[in-house]
């Protein structure tokens, strides 16, 4: 459960986020909007990389303000990046272990947890392959595996669907849909691929100029005329 309350972020004079308020309870929520709308800014606030000048954000009832950046992973905030951040010199298993080192394991054996995470994303056979020898899609899956270990509460994915082949896209959708069942975490999905959003997200938040212009069940939001004007595009008369 994500609660955003009157969140404002300033970059000099530019309003990255402008008094944004939203309540996001769904297991998989989409976050869309044109470039510069504030999507990445919002997840950066959640990650702790950017400090809001006003307002607050809570996850599962806990205000994130008091949690230092490096402790958010342990609290349960995880993230995959647009520019993947897999460590080239570590194997896939070690990449996952690197995050597991810093999050609660509830006494379970580490090797089992790592294996489970890698199996979940379909990389069970590639556990000992070095990061540099994994292809782009596999690296993305490693990032997702990393984010599912150690009781995560929220996994934010920043454009995971970019540049994928058809079968990879299908696999990604499956993974996203199964995350909540696998580890209990909520997913916040940022992407420009509207089909991906429709296929995986029960609800979607649309941002424009730093505020929310629509929130609700995904099909309704995508049909919303305001959203169409701002983001999806409107058919020209007589085209």
């Amino acid at each position: 459960m994500i609660e955003i309350d009157d969140l404002t972020v300033l970059f000099g004079g530019v309003r990255g986020l402008s008094a944004l308020s939203a309540s996001l309870p769904e297991p998989v929520t989409g976050l869309v909007g044109p470039n510069g709308a504030g999507k990445t800014t919002l997840i950066n606030v959640l990650s702790g990389f950017i400090r809001p000048v006003k307002g607050s954000v809570s996850v599962d009832g806990k205000d994130l303000k008091g949690i230092p950046v490096h402790k958010r992973a342990a609290f349960g905030i995880r993230r995959t990046f647009q520019n993947e951040q897999v460590v080239e010199n570590l194997s896939a298993a070690d990449n996952v272990a690197a995050v597991l080192d810093n999050v609660p394991t509830d006494g379970q054996p580490r090797r089992a947890l790592i294996a489970r995470a890698l199996d979940f994303v379909g990389l069970g056979a590639k556990a000992s392959v070095l990061g540099r020898n994994l292809n782009a899609y596999e690296r993305r899956m490693v990032e997702i595996a990393r984010s599912t270990v150690g009781s995560p509460r929220l996994i934010m994915m920043d454009e995971p669907g970019a540049g994928l082949a058809q079968d990879e896209s299908e696999h990604l959708r499956q993974v996203i849909r199964n995350v909540h069942r696998h580890c209990g975490a909520q997913v916040l999905l940022v992407d420009h691929d509207v089909d991906l959003i429709s296929a995986t997200c029960a609800a979607t938040l649309v941002l424009d100029f730093g505020t929310s212009i629509a929130y609700g069940p995904t099909p309704d939001v995508l049909a919303n005329p305001k959203v169409r004007t701002a983001y999806l595009g409107v058919l020209e008369e007589g085209a």
Binding site: H70, A74, F81, Q85, V86, V87, N89, L90, A98
Partner: protein, 343 residues
């Protein structure tokens, strides 16, 4: 420095045991055991110093290869470690091992206290502060000298200078040489244990990027501190080894330029390879000794090393070790037959 520069040989191995490396290591150890009988006293002493400097170079390469951190103070910290090892050994009559470890701990602490402000800043500031640290240590050491059996805080003897007591098992030069090699091997294993465990993974994440590390829950400053402390500890151990080998340390032998040379040669030898520090140790001690034999000015060595570092930075950041490894693999593939592709 980003992950882009870290290609090729890495100290971080995969999760399976490096059996081949262990076999090679065991073979090398056997050779080293037999070595002293073939060497003159002078060269044996040189190699003892080499062993100590290998550990010092290992400390430099640990920081540089794992975290891209440039420390220009490691030789100075070697001096600090040597000072404490000598003081404990002379003052308390402590066994060599205890003196060695104390020296290591002292150097780690000194390094940390001084380096801490810079650990939170850009890497350039660490290079600057460690250079200044080396300068400050130079001033202190040349002013105070090294303990040599006297009483009082500085331990300076008014009468005859006392040599450092060697370990119980290693009184003679050949025995001490083997002892030093064993200690060096321990240091390597210590580093290896770090690399395969939590610290190694955290360091790799930090090197990948601050963002990657923070998002993964790594406390960046804490792990940098850990690395820096470990590097200080290794430098201190090297100091104790050197003190035990030579018997006493010379207060004028710790100019800041030595720390720079240590760094330079570690890069030239190959910071990203386990073999690099060995090459660096040889170059730091054996090369000048060789020049000495041929009555060539030691300053030539400085110039050569400077050129070597410059060349390494411009062309082969992985150093001689990598070039040797490449040559080795090329030769191996050549002998295996022309049908195979190069590694």
């Amino acid at each position: 420095m980003t992950d882009r520069s870290l290609e090729g040989v890495s100290l971080v191995a995969s999760s399976r045991l490096p059996l081949r490396e262990i076999a090679v290591g065991a073979g090398a150890l056997a050779v080293i055991y037999l070595l002293p009988s073939f060497l003159s006293d002078y060269w044996l002493r040189v190699l003892i110093s080499v062993a100590a400097l290998v550990v010092a170079s290992l400390s430099v390469s640990l920081l540089f290869a794992q975290l891209g951190m440039v420390s220009l103070a490691q030789f100075g910290l070697l001096g600090v470690g040597g000072w404490f090892a000598l003081r404990i050994s002379h003052g308390l009559g402590a066994p060599f091992e205890l003196a060695l470890v104390t020296g290591g701990a002292a150097a780690a602490l000194v390094g940390l206290v001084v380096g801490l402000p810079a650990l939170r800043m850009r890497g350039l500031y660490l290079a600057i502060i460690t250079l200044m640290m080396a300068g400050a240590i130079q001033v202190l050491i040349s002013a105070f000298g090294f303990p040599d059996g006297g009483t009082g805080i500085l331990g300076k003897s008014t009468g005859a200078r006392v040599m450092m007591a060697r370990p119980f098992l290693a009184q003679s030069d050949p025995a001490y040489f083997r002892y030093a090699v064993v200690i060096a091997a321990f240091c390597y294993l210590l580093v290896l244990a770090h690399l395969r465990g939590r610290p190694g993974r955290a360091w790799a994440m930090i090197r990948r990027g601050e963002v990657c590390a923070l998002a993964g829950g790594v406390h960046i400053v804490a792990y940098k501190v850990w690395a820096f402390a470990l590097a200080g500890f290794l430098a201190g151990i090297a100091g104790g080894l050197l003190a035990g080998g030579v018997g006493q340390l010379d207060g004028s032998a710790f100019p800041a330029s030595q720390s720079i040379m240590l760094f330079a040669l570690t890069i030239v030898g190959g910071a990203y390879s386990w073999f690099g520090p060995i090459i660096a140790g040889l170059m730091l001690r054996a090369f000048p000794a060789l020049l000495n034999e041929f009555h060539v000015d030691g300053n030539i060595a400085t110039v050569v090393f400077g050129v070597g570092l410059l060349h390494a930075l411009m062309t082969a950041p992985q150093g001689i070790a990598r070039q040797l490894a490449d040559a080795f693999w090329a030769a191996r593939n050549f002998f295996k037959g022309n049908g195979r592709n190069a590694a």
